[in-house]
Symmetry: C2
Subunit: 189 residues, 2 copies
């Protein structure tokens, strides 16, 4: 731990340089471990939740969605930004219902991760949702998605074959698969 | 595929709204599938390469690095941005040498992924590097890292225990582990 102190950077000052609808960009000056200063540009993000809905027959629900920065359609898990005042589980419950019209009796937390530690403080909370019920979905006005049910093991294969290339979706599927294997092996022993 | 057409968005116009040292931010107007228009803010990124160096004794080399947006130290795989004119493999070779002072005889491509499809076109190429040789490292002036060797299976456990929470590092380790299991099972059959 003493050794780690030589990694730490301290904020000298911070400037709010771009106030977008989605992107809130800061440019800070930081004191480096060497004593020099350097520019650190970063995006403030409210965090997000991502959910893998798992049906009783062993299918999971993915969505296909067009993503503007790559101009490409991706397979994704349902996910969305945390609204002001929400906790991450509430976000998961809301997004699952809005994006694919599902509610879930059981919510298992799979941990969190940081998608781009170099330039944003975004954190994504991961959930496995089971005990699913159908409702009507209600996507945002500027969001268009196509839901698709896939056997869980096939979703894992899609990650390793390179058919799923969205980071949060890869991590949610691989984490959920690991946890479901642990559950079934402890149930079998 | 015909169904997917109803997902696609078209650029109406694009404005370069923030020209940072690292972050290049655009604000576009996009025509939505519904016919309405919406704002799309996104970051142009040159792409990156991430490398898992695997030693003959079964250890992998991780690094500890302070990340300013979270003000937190992370375990990471060596990685870095693609310089102008480089191909992703050259970036991997350069970053492995600069960050941890290693060269590798064998480079196995593990595929690519997109860390934050909502707001950046960044793509990260993943490599498993074996046949390692030590040199002296030569990190950038504003980069400070502590290397740490960990048994490969323990690195996988660190992902599932939540001790590794950097997205690119989680994906590189889990992809590399899957590929190394495939190699050893085909060698054993």
């Amino acid at each position: 731990m003493k050794n780690e102190r030589k990694l730490i950077e301290q904020t000298i000052d911070s400037e709010y340089v771009f106030d977008g609808v989605l992107l809130k960009v800061y440019r800070d000056r930081a004191r480096l471990p060497s004593g020099d200063s350097s520019v650190r540009e970063w995006i403030r993000h409210p965090g997000a939740s991502a959910i893998l809905p798992l049906f009783e027959n062993g299918d999971v629900m993915l969505i296909k969605q067009f993503r503007y920065p790559m101009s490409q359609i991706f397979y994704e898990v349902p996910a969305g930004k945390i609204d002001s005042g929400e906790d991450p589980l509430q976000t998961g419950v809301r997004e699952l219902r809005e994006e694919v019209g599902l509610s879930a009796k059981n919510w298992r937390y799979l941990g969190l991760f940081y998608p781009s530690i170099g330039y944003t403080n975004e954190v994504i909370h991961l959930y496995l949702a089971t005990g699913l019920d159908h409702h009507s979905s209600n996507t945002d006005d500027d969001e268009f998605v196509i839901p698709e049910r896939v056997p869980f093991a096939e979703a894992v294969n899609m990650v390793h074959r390179g058919d799923i290339t969205d980071g949060k979706t890869m991590i949610t599927i691989l984490r959920a698969w690991q946890v479901s294997q642990e559950i079934s092996s402890s149930a079998g022993s």
